[in-house]
């Protein structure tokens, strides 16, 4: 009887009250390429951290070649035979390549020969990491991991920033490792890669292992269905709203490019419309929202607000033009120790001309907002004591108090209970009914038909799919978000 190369049993991990992993069973046999799949927040990255020794699990066992191991620090994982290539390369930016290798006590020649095989033989080892592009760092990190000669190679989203020719090199290495009788644990959002490369796939949902399948037998559907789980029972019929095609365009972009993350995005958003954006993590949606909210200027193309280009030096300029952002990190957007009322009034302070009459104006405006939001608390309390959902309402409400024409929401319902979610949907719809535009990115695909009028799917910095939100099923969106529509 042969032991599995890697076996985890009932691995669990919580951060305070947040459960990241409930119970993960994963078995990787020698000589196989094993995919680890799951929707955003399913627990993949927590599992990677555990398997690379960054964090210790609360409970459960991990064994390598039949022997139980504990890994409290990254070097201990390497010693156990597990080498990880992280999504963000673990290279020290202010040191040179050579110094980084010295740091980890790795032979330069071994790395050099690996890099040569990947077509990077001319890389100057005296170059500083800071000066190198991300795809080179990924491959460098991979070459360094290979130099450890690991039993199991963990590749976390390694192909996400790689041009296809370099991705081919990586696939070649995965095959080589398999033929050596060793294994690869491959984490990716690209289902096409899983279908063509992987022997086995373990699927996580809500911190639990829900299935292990053979991708070549199961096909795409067999991978997607367990990732989604049972269709949410409380799904109700989407109320269709009619958007007049004559309504003015509040926000548009023309062929927007930025740093390889946004690669030519154009869309139009009309008054009264709620436009959804669906994408897997890291497809350029973060950058798109930075561009729209004035946090960053595009390399090429334009953001057009109410018919004229936005040339923002900071979000302040965008806000003045009526484009406001509800960011993903609520705490970041709030003054956690100040009262609800003060938080609602922050943008009002920007209006210098209002300073004289501030007291009265501030009060009536914030009162109106609080009423509209039905924040379930007395408004003089500290914002940090509110629940996540109520905090989110405050972030939205502060713009209600201030007035705006376009509301950008980045994952507004992340980590919020279903009841408050409903309230936020209603709030956003109400906002749209008054003639404002709403652009929503959400990591939860079932929200799209409930909330949006139209949906765009972004993959690799491009819009790959567009349709009416009311008829957008999760399966269609997920396939598009995995780039399957494009490759097929």
């Amino acid at each position: 009887m042969t032991d599995a190369l890697l076996e985890t049993k009932a691995v669990a991990k919580s951060y305070g009250s947040v459960v990241a992993l409930r119970s993960v069973d994963l078995t990787v046999q020698p000589g196989e390429i094993h995919a680890l799949l799951g929707a955003n927040g399913a627990g993949k990255s927590t599992l990677v951290k555990i398997l690379s020794g960054v964090i210790a699990p609360d409970s459960g066992t991990i064994s390598v070649n039949g022997r139980s191991v504990t890994m409290r620090r990254p070097p201990e994982a390497l010693k156990a035979g597990l080498a990880t290539v992280y999504q963000d390369p673990a290279l020290v930016p202010d040191l040179t390549i050579a110094q980084n290798l010295t740091l980890t006590a790795i032979d330069e020649d071994a790395v050099r020969s690996r890099l040569t095989a990947m077509g990077l033989g001319r890389l100057d080892f005296d170059a500083q990491i800071r000066d190198l592009p991300l795809e080179v760092l990924r491959l460098l990190d991979l070459a360094r991991a290979l130099a450890h000669d690991p039993q199991l190679l963990l590749l976390d989203e390694i192909t996400a920033a790689l041009p296809s020719d370099q991705a081919e090199h990586v696939f070649g290495i995965m095959q080589e490792w398999k033929e050596k009788g060793r294994s690869v644990l491959f984490i990716t959002h690209r289902l096409a890669e899983v279908l063509s490369l992987c022997d086995q796939a373990t699927i996580l949902r809500d911190g639990r292992t829900v299935a292990q399948v053979e991708p070549r037998q199961s096909g795409e559907r067999g991978l997607v269905t367990p990732m989604l789980g049972e269709v949410a029972a409380e799904l109700e019929a989407a109320t269709s709203r009619v958007i007049s095609q004559e309504a003015p365009i509040n926000l548009a972009t023309a062929d927007l490019y930025s740093g390889g993350k946004v690669n030519g995005i154009s869309f139009e958003l009309r008054a009264g419309e709620i436009l959804g954006i669906a994408a897997l993590e890291g497809q350029g949606q973060d950058r798109l929202f930075e561009l729209l909210s004035g946090d960053r200027r595009p390399d090429r193309g334009e953001v057009i607000v109410n018919g004229s280009p936005l040339r923002a030096r900071s979000p302040y300029d965008a806000i003045r033009r009526g484009v406001v952002l509800v960011p993903s990190d609520r705490v970041l957007a709030l003054l956690p120790k100040r009262s609800v009322r003060e938080n609602l009034a922050i943008p009002l302070y920007n209006r210098v001309q209002r300073w004289l009459g501030l007291v009265g104006d501030e009060d009536t405006r914030t009162n109106k907002a609080i009423e509209r939001l039905s924040i379930d608390t007395r408004a003089h309390r500290q914002v940090r004591r509110l629940s996540g959902g109520n905090q989110q309402k405050v972030v939205i409400g502060r713009w209600l108090a201030n007035g705006f024409r376009t509301l950008l929401c980045f994952d507004p319902t992340r980590g919020i209970d279903i009841h408050t979610k409903r309230q936020i949907y209603d709030l956003l719809k109400e906002v749209a009914d008054t003639g404002a535009s709403v652009l929503v990115y959400t990591s939860e695909l079932p929200e799209i038909p409930l909330l949006c009028d139209r949906v765009l799917v972004i993959y690799n910095g491009r819009i790959v799919h567009e349709q009416d939100a009311a008829t957008a099923t999760e399966e269609v969106l997920l396939s598009a978000a995995h780039g399957l529509e494009e490759s097929a």
Partner: protein, 329 residues
């Protein structure tokens, strides 16, 4: 061929700041030579030996800041070791004072390493913990030596200053005491794996941790090294002045000067960037400004304004250069 040229350009860019600071120092010295009527070995000896305490302090501060910390207790450690050594070394023969000196350096390293450990386990920010230790060190100094006093052996004074009364024209010993620690520190930081791990820790904590660096150990080593250098600065002060002085203000000034020196010397307060060599040149400049300004006949009070302005202007130049580089990318 082109690779060599490219590498030269790369090196010039990377060490450009250090080179610039050394050039600035050379210009200041040249100016000083023109300003004063007589420039000879007495002046050279005076500049070298009197800059020693700040140079040592700046080396230690540079190492700590490169590791991602900051030591507001460095000057107080100077005062503490100065007071302790002056008390212990009084009326002792040369050999004993040397042994005491080594003991002081080791003790300072252990004490400051302990501070690094406290920062690790308490997770209180470096600036808060070392602000507290600066008061503790100052208080201890006053307990050991309540007022100026104490002394050391003649041989010990010669070791740092070249003469037994702290004056004179021979500067060989001072130069040696300047160069040896600089070379050791520079090699330690740039060539050893431990030194690289300090850079790594200050540059990117997460990447360093994932690369297998023991980041807690790096912090303790950084602070211990800084403590040892502050101890050496205390010993140099004993040798130069021939006595100990526990006053709080000496330490506070010395700390601020050490921070000014490393910032001027190209060490980023965010960690991971800069070099010991640059910090040393800047430390000499910071020390050297007051003799220059007094040679120009400028009131000592104005001298501080000039010193502060210089730092601001130099940092603005640094900021502009960094901005241009980012734009060019």
């Amino acid at each position: 061929m082109t690779a060599v040229v490219r590498r030269r350009a790369l090196n010039l860019r990377r060490h450009g700041w250090s080179i610039g600071v050394w050039l600035l120092l050379a210009i200041l010295i040249g100016w000083y030579v023109l300003l004063i009527p007589r420039f000879g070995s007495f002046q050279i000896a005076s500049i070298i030996k009197n800059s020693l305490p700040l140079v040592y302090l700046a080396i230690g501060q540079a190492v700590i800041v490169i590791t991602g910390g900051i030591d507001l207790g460095a000057g107080a450690m100077l005062v503490l070791t100065n007071s302790t050594s002056a008390t212990l070394m009084q009326d002792q023969p040369f050999l004993v004072t040397i042994l005491i000196g080594f003991g002081i350096i080791l003790g300072a390293a252990a004490l400051n390493g302990f501070v690094g450990w406290i920062i690790n386990v308490s997770r209180v920010p470096d600036i808060v913990v070392t602000l507290a230790t600066s008061f503790i060190y100052s208080g201890l100094a006053l307990m050991i030596l309540p007022g100026p006093g104490g002394g050391t052996s003649a041989g010990f004074r010669i070791l740092f200053t070249g003469s037994d009364d702290g004056t004179g024209t021979s500067f060989g010993f001072s130069l040696g005491m300047l160069l040896v620690p600089v070379v050791i520190a520079a090699f330690f930081m740039r060539r050893s794996r431990t030194g690289l791990s300090l850079y790594a820790t200050g540059s990117d904590l997460n990447a360093a941790y994932l690369s297998g660096v023991d980041i807690r150990r790096a912090k303790v080593i950084g602070y211990a090294f800084g403590g040892a250098m502050a101890g050496l600065a205390g010993l140099a002060t004993v040798a130069i002045t021939g006595s100990g002085d526990p006053r709080f203000s000496i330490g506070a000034n010395a700390t601020l000067n050490s921070v000014a020196a490393i910032v001027l010397g190209g060490v980023a307060l965010t960690g991971g960037i800069g070099s010991v060599v640059g910090a040393v040149a800047a430390a000499i400049i910071v020390f050297f400004l007051s003799p220059i300004l007094s040679a120009m006949g400028i009131d000592p009070n104005t001298a501080q304004v000039v010193q502060g302005s210089l730092i601001v202007v130099v940092m603005m130049i640094a900021g502009l250069l960094a901005l241009r580089r980012r734009r060019a990318k």
